[in-house]
Every structure is written in structure tokens, then in C-alpha cells.
């Protein structure tokens, strides 16, 4: 048998393959029903036009989006990367702080404090306000 490490990841791989296969299979069955003529498949121009509350489509069918999403995405990227650094620290905090004392806690506090300054700046600039 595989050793423990590869066994865990192998099981995840099998599970992932099956997790993709189940919805794909459901869509395939639905498609087969269409091919066999069990469920209707009669597309026409009105049915295939995009839904807009019954009106004819106004303007282009592909709209842009507001710029304010951009600021949120940037702040998110900043703090999501921070979380990646936090997890190994959190998991080994017990071991590390036994070795190095209070230094481990203070160092992470300094790191987060620097990021929090950026967060406060974003707040003051009004980027966290949905306008």
C-alpha cells in the first residue's frame, strides 16, 4: 500500500475525479434526453434572446461593470495574501513560541500592524465605502 502521505492525496484525487464526474454525468443524461427527443429541444429566436423582463434588449448585450469593484479586489488581494502567511504561523505557534518566546507573537503583530495601516488608509480614502 502507498505510504500515508500519498494515500491521503490519492484519495482526494479519486474524490475530485468523482466530484467532477457526477455533475458532468447529470448534464450528459439531460443532453441524451434531448437527443432522444424525450425532452423538448426547439430553440427559436425569441427563446434564445437574453432575458430582459420581456423587453427587446436595450443597448449592447454585454455591459461593463463599475470601477468600484476594483478597489475591493485590490484590498482583498492584500489581505488574502496575508492570510496565507498567517496559517503556517498559527499552526506552529505553540512550538515556535516555546522555542523563541514572546518574539513570535510580537513579530506577527508588527507584520499585521503594517497591513492594518494600509487598511486604515483605504478606509480614510473611502475605498471601503460602497458608493
Amino acid at each position: 500500500m502507498l505510504d500515508d502521505y500519498f494515500r491521503q492525496y490519492g484519495l482526494i484525487a479519486i474524490f475530485a475525479a468523482l466530484a467532477v464526474a457526477v455533475p458532468t454525468g447529470m448534464l450528459t443524461i439531460s443532453w441524451m434526453l434531448g437527443v432522444l427527443g424525450i425532452r423538448p429541444r426547439k430553440p427559436d429566436a425569441v427563446k434564445n434572446s437574453i432575458y430582459e423582463c420581456g423587453f427587446a434588449t436595450l443597448g449592447g448585450r454585454w455591459s461593463g461593470f463599475n470601477f468600484r469593484f476594483y478597489a475591493f479586489a485590490l484590498v482583498f488581494v492584500l489581505f488574502d495574501v496575508e492570510v496565507v502567511f498567517l496559517f503556517p504561523w498559527a499552526a506552529s505557534f505553540g512550538f515556535l513560541s516555546k522555542e523563541f518566546g514572546v518574539f513570535v507573537l510580537v513579530e506577527m503583530l508588527v507584520f499585521i500592524a503594517i497591513l492594518v495601516v494600509g487598511w486604515l488608509h483605504a478606509w480614510r480614502k473611502g475605498d471601503l465605502q460602497w458608493r
Binding site: M1, P23, L27, I50, V83, A90, A91
Partner: protein, 403 residues
């Protein structure tokens, strides 16, 4: 104690041992594949069936909450409603709008459902090894749950529909905002249990973490109910504004897959909450661990349903501000409060945290939680008085001049 009574062998090693005994020595890999496949198949099927039952339960309970009937025609108490739904979805026409990106349009529901399933691979249902005991379970859960943001964006973008696009963009903004406090709340769990594996989180959880760090628990539940975009946070598909959001253009089986994933989300969240904060399969007496786990998950599930039935939908600016100005600083505060308490309270020589240390942490954290809740509710309550005047959105006629 935990789960000793259930040794039916329905764990990976039991199944593997059975098939390994049937096959010659050189076919070890085949036994591994078959055993893994059977286990994964059983888990996915259990999840799909329980989701089907849960759709009935949720609609029925919401009906009771709102003084109406809910589904009651098919079978006793409408119990056969999920089957009728499946038959209906199967026999509906599957339309794809003109100009839609067909590949992405088809892929989006698959991605959405598959990520939902994948989280469940790491939930330890009992003390024996159910599927996988990955040593980075918590990171895996965060990584996989954030993929459904991508699925929502794929669905909205590929439909080429304005409402779908607005729903998807709002959804992405909201989901990524709530992901940060959720991940920080989970980091506090990793800190207290000193491990990233979901299995070890439960074995190290002598006192349920809900009692030890209530702030992390409340943040996680709030952020998770935003992540699954249910009613206090259901901006993504606010029917009155956006048609039905990112899946406006979907029909037939693809729509059914979106519904499956959306109704599966509360089950998954309640299992994660039971694992991380309610000490998983641990319990008292001769009752097997699996029963304890399911009971705890059911309590959380009913609480989530209760939230959904009780609260009205929040406004979009309230939602974004609650994430960035409310939950985010609170989750940082909680993380460092827990770290400082561990630093001060644990045994300086061995580095171990005893039960009494945990209870001391619980007392401190409940005090912090109370003070912080008062402060935050005062802050957000004052905000309510100065509501901005509604002005017409510049998006309202976007593209109309471009033609």
C-alpha cells in the same frame, strides 16, 4: 469514548483490507482505487440525497415560518417533492442564449457543484478515518470554497446578460470580502488547536471552540452565511432587483445543478461548523460519535434556516461595510487575543494547554465578545440615522448611448 461503538469497518482501511484480501499481492493499487472509489461514491451520494431531503425540509420550514403551506402535494407532507423536482428539471428544455460563451456556460455549474462536493472529503464524520486525513485540511477547505466565486463569475460572464453580469459582480465583491474574515476565524481555530488538519482539530478540542472563542464562532457563522449567499446576504440573486442574478439565463439541468449546489452549501457549512467549533464527533455516553456529529450539524442547520427565515435582506453598502469595517477588524482582534492568551496561560515548560487554561480563555473571550458586540452595534446603529439619499445608478442605461 468517541465512536468506539461503531467499528463496522466502513472506513478506508476496512474496505481496503477487504479488497486487498480478494486480490493478489501485485494488484494493491487496484484495491486502493476500488476502495477509494466506493468511499467517495458513498459520500457523494449521501450528500446528494441529504441535499434532496433538505430542499424539502427548507421549503416546508420556510412555509411554516411565513404562515403558508410549502410543498404538500407529493407524498405524505410533500416528502416526494424532491423527486418531482428532479423529473421536472430533467424534462425541461435546456436553452442557451445567443451569443453566450457555450463552453464556459456549461462548465460553470459543474465547477460550482464539484467544489461543494470536494469540501466534504475532509470532514471527519467519526473517529475512524473516513475519507482523507489531509494534514493541511483547513487550508484546503478555504482554497476550495473560494473557487465557487469563480464559478459564479463564469456563469454571470458567459450568459452575456446584464442582470446576470450585475449579479455576478456583486456576488464576487461580496464573496471575496467575506472570505477574509472567514479565513481569519479559521486561523484562530488553527492557533488554538495547533494544527491544520481537520482531524486533529477535533482530537485537540477538549472544550468546544465555540465556548473558547465565541467571537471567532460568530464571525465564522456570519461570514459563512454570506459565502453561501443566503437571505441576510442574498444580494447575488435579489429577485426584486436582478431577475435572479447570475443564473438568470440558466434552465433545465444546469439550473438544477446550481440549485443543488446552493442547497448543499448550508449542509456543508453546518458540518464545518460542527467540526471546527462544536468538537465534531466528541460526545458523552455510549452514543456513537457519528450520531453526535450529525446531531450537532443538524442543530447548526436549523439555526441557519432560522436566520434565513428571520432577517430581511441587507443593502449592498451595509453588506460591504459590515465585512470590511465590522468583521475584518474583529477577526484580527480575536486572532491576537487568542494568541496572547495562549502565550500567557499555557505551561511555560511543556507548552501544553490544559482544560482549565481553555476555560480561562473562554471566560476572557466571552468578556471581550460582549464588549465588542456592544461597541460594534452602537457604531452601526448610529450609521443608520444618516442614510444616503438614493440617486439613480449610472449603470441604469449603460450601453444605450453606445449603440
Amino acid at each position: 469514548m468517541e465512536g468506539q461503538a461503531v467499528k463496522a469497518g466502513f472506513d478506508f482501511l476496512g474496505i481496503y483490507g477487504f479488497f486487498d484480501g480478494l486480490m493478489p499481492e501485485s494488484l494493491d493499487w487496484l484495491a486502493f482505487l476500488v476502495a477509494g472509489f466506493i468511499l467517495a461514491f458513498a459520500i457523494i451520494n449521501a450528500l446528494v440525497v441529504s441535499t434532496a431531503v433538505y430542499t424539502w425540509f427548507e421549503r416546508r420550514a420556510l412555509g411554516k415560518f411565513q404562515s403558508r403551506l410549502g410543498p404538500n402535494r407529493w407524498g405524505p407532507f410533500g416528502l416526494l417533492q424532491p423527486i418531482a423536482d428532479v423529473v421536472k428539471f430533467m424534462s425541461k428544455e435546456d436553452t442557451v442564449p445567443d451569443g453566450a460563451d457555450r463552453q464556459v456556460f456549461t462548465l460553470a455549474p459543474i465547477v460550482f457543484v464539484a467544489t461543494g462536493f470536494l469540501v466534504f472529503a475532509l470532514i471527519p464524520l467519526g473517529s475512524n478515518d473516513w475519507l482523507s486525513r489531509l494534514n493541511i485540511g483547513l487550508v484546503f477547505i478555504i482554497a476550495v470554497t473560494s473557487v465557487n466565486t469563480l464559478a459564479i463569475f463564469m456563469a454571470g460572464w458567459s450568459s452575456r446578460n446584464k442582470y446576470a453580469m450585475f449579479g455576478a459582480m456583486r456576488g464576487v465583491a461580496m464573496l471575496i470580502s467575506y472570505e477574509v474574515p472567514m479565513a481569519l476565524a479559521i486561523a484562530a481555530v488553527a492557533l488554538a488547536s495547533q494544527s491544520l488538519s481537520t482531524y486533529t482539530v477535533v482530537t485537540n478540542q477538549e472544550v468546544p471552540f465555540m465556548l473558547v472563542m465565541p467571537l471567532a464562532f460568530f464571525i465564522f457563522v456570519a461570514a459563512a452565511s454570506a459565502e453561501m449567499s443566503r437571505t441576510p446576504f442574498d444580494l447575488i440573486e435579489s429577485e426584486s432587483e436582478l431577475g435572479s442574478g447570475y443564473h438568470t439565463e440558466y434552465s433545465g439541468m444546469k439550473f438544477a445543478l446550481f440549485q443543488l449546489a446552493e442547497f448543499m452549501a448550508p449542509i456543508i457549512v453546518s458540518c464545518i461548523v460542527a467540526t471546527l467549533f462544536l468538537s465534531g464527533w466528541r460526545g458523552w455516553g455510549p452514543i456513537p460519535g457519528q450520531v453526535w456529529f450529525i446531531l450537532k450539524a443538524l442543530v447548526v442547520l436549523c439555526a441557519l434556516l432560522w436566520f434565513r427565515a428571520t432577517w430581511p435582506r441587507l443593502r449592498v453598502d451595509q453588506i460591504m461595510e459590515f465585512a470590511w469595517k465590522g468583521l475584518f477588524p474583529l477577526s484580527l482582534l480575536n486572532l491576537f487575543a487568542v494568541a496572547t492568551e495562549i502565550q500567557l496561560l499555557r505551561d511555560p515548560v511543556t507548552g501544553a494547554l490544559t482544560d482549565s487554561d481553555m476555560w480561562a480563555m473562554a471566560a476572557i473571550n466571552w468578556a471581550i465578545t460582549g464588549i465588542v458586540f456592544l461597541a460594534v452595534s452602537r457604531m452601526f446603529a448610529r450609521k443608520q440615522l444618516q442614510r444616503p439619499l438614493p440617486k439613480p445608478s449610472p449603470l441604469a442605461n449603460m450601453g444605450a448611448e453606445a449603440e
